[in-house]
C-alpha cells in the first residue's frame, strides 16, 4: 500500500527563480536560502520518495477569471513550464505518475471534495521556483495540485485543511507500494501591493512555524483575512502548507525548520518525517 513518508513546506517566489537563473545562489544574501534548500533536498532524497504531490497556487499564469477552480489536481502524464512574462524557464518537461494521480482524483472526490481535474496545465513559479532545488535531477515524478488564493471567494483555511486530510486518505488507499511525499509551497510573509509593499512579518512567520509543529489544527481555524492581516495580503498561500500538514498523519514530526527574512519575503522551509511502521 502507498504510504506518506514525509511532508515539506517551503517558499516559492520569482526572486528564487531569478537568483537561480542568474547564478546568484552562492552570493552572500542568497547563500543561506539555497544552502537550506540543498540540505532539504538531501534530506528528502535520502528517504527515497517515489512520488511528490505538490500543493501550490497559480498566479494567473494558467487560470483566469473566466472560471477559476478552487481546488485542482493534474492527471496528465507530464507538464509544460509556464511563460510568466520572461519566456518559460529552461527546464525539462515535468514527469508525472498518471496512474497514481488518477487514483487520487477519484478518491478525493469520493472523500467529499469537488476537485477540478486538469488534463493540461502549465506550471508557474508556485511549483517551479522550489522544485528544481528539491529535486535537481528531476528524478521523482510529481503530481500538481492547486488551491485558489487569487479570485474571491476563496476557500477557507479550514476547507484547505480538510482537502489535505482527504488527500492523505486518498494516498493511503492506493493499493501499490509507493513512498509519497506531500509538499506545500507559498509564503511566508509578503505584501506585494499598497503602502506596505515589501514589508515582511518575521514574528508572525515564526509563530506560524511554531503552530505548524505544535498546534496545526489551530491554524485551520484562522480566516484568510487573519492570515492577510498578519503576514501580508499575498501570504495567504500558507494554506498550501496547512493542506500539506493535514495530509500527514498526526505522528509526523518536524525535523527541519528554516527561516530567513530577506528582501521582500520571509523565506521558510519546514520538513516533517512520518515515522515508518
Amino acid at each position: 500500500m502507498a504510504k506518506i513518508i514525509a511532508g515539506i513546506g517551503c517558499s516559492h517566489a520569482p526572486s528564487i527563480a531569478h537568483a537561480y537563473d542568474h547564478r546568484l545562489v552562492e552570493e552572500p544574501p542568497w547563500k543561506p536560502l539555497f544552502t537550506a534548500f540543498k540540505q532539504t533536498s538531501q534530506w528528502l532524497l535520502r528517504q527515497k520518495p517515489d512520488v511528490l504531490i505538490v500543493l501550490y497556487n497559480d498566479h494567473v499564469d494558467q487560470y483566469f477569471f473566466d472560471a477559476w477552480p478552487t481546488f485542482t489536481i493534474g492527471v496528465a502524464a507530464e507538464y509544460q513550464i509556464a511563460d510568466e512574462g520572461w519566456g518559460p524557464r529552461t527546464f525539462p518537461i515535468v514527469p508525472s505518475h498518471q496512474k497514481f494521480a488518477q487514483h487520487l482524483a477519484i478518491q478525493i472526490v469520493e472523500n467529499g471534495f469537488d476537485l477540478t481535474v486538469s488534463q493540461r496545465m502549465v506550471l508557474d513559479h508556485g511549483f517551479l521556483s522550489p522544485m528544481p532545488l528539491l529535486d535537481p535531477e528531476w528524478a521523482v515524478p510529481i503530481i500538481p495540485m492547486t488551491i485558489n488564493v487569487v479570485q474571491p471567494p476563496l476557500p477557507t483555511p479550514k476547507r484547505c485543511w480538510e482537502l489535505g486530510e482527504a488527500l492523505g486518505k486518498a494516498i493511503l488507499g492506493f493499493p501499490e507500494d509507493l513512498r509519497a511525499v506531500v509538499i506545500g509551497t507559498g509564503g511566508l510573509s509578503h505584501q506585494l501591493t499598497g503602502p506596505n509593499f515589501g514589508t515582511v512579518y518575521p514574528e508572525w512567520d515564526r509563530k506560524f512555524l511554531q503552530l505548524l509543529e505544535e498546534a496545526p489544527r489551530e491554524l485551520a481555524s484562522y480566516r484568510m483575512e487573519d492570515f492577510a492581516r498578519l503576514g501580508g495580503d499575498h501570504s495567504i498561500e500558507i494554506v498550501q502548507w496547512l493542506a500539506m500538514r493535514a495530509a500527514l498523519l498526526s505522528a509526523a514530526k518536524m525535523e527541519l525548520r528554516f527561516y530567513y527574512p530577506y528582501g521582500l519575503m520571509g523565506y521558510g522551509i519546514a520538513g516533517f518525517r512520518v515515522p515508518e511502521v
Partner: protein, 106 residues
Amino acid sequence: MSTYEISRMLYSLRDPMNRETCRTNPEVYYRHFDLDETELQFLLDRSWQNLVDAGVSIYLLTKLGATLNVDLLEIGASMRGMSREEFLLLVKEQGERNQKYTIPLA
C-alpha cells in the same frame, strides 16, 4: 469598473508575440481591448497603485512589467511613492532589523 477586460489584456501578455506587439506601441495594443478611459490612462501613466486600487491583480501587472521592462521593485517603489533607490534602502534596513529572527537549518 469591471476589471475583466483589462485583466484579459494583461493575461494576453503571457504570449511572447503579444508582448512584442505591446512593447512596439503600448497604446495601440491597449486600444485593441474594450477598456474604459480611466483604465487606459492608468496604463499609459503606469499608475500601478491606481490599477491595484481598481482591482487589477499584481500577478497580472507583473506581466505588463515584464513587457515594458519594469521590474517588481520599481512597481513596488512607485506604489510606496518612493524612488527605486529609496525603496532598496528601506528593504536593506528591514533585512538588517529582521536578521535576528533567522532560524538556521538545523
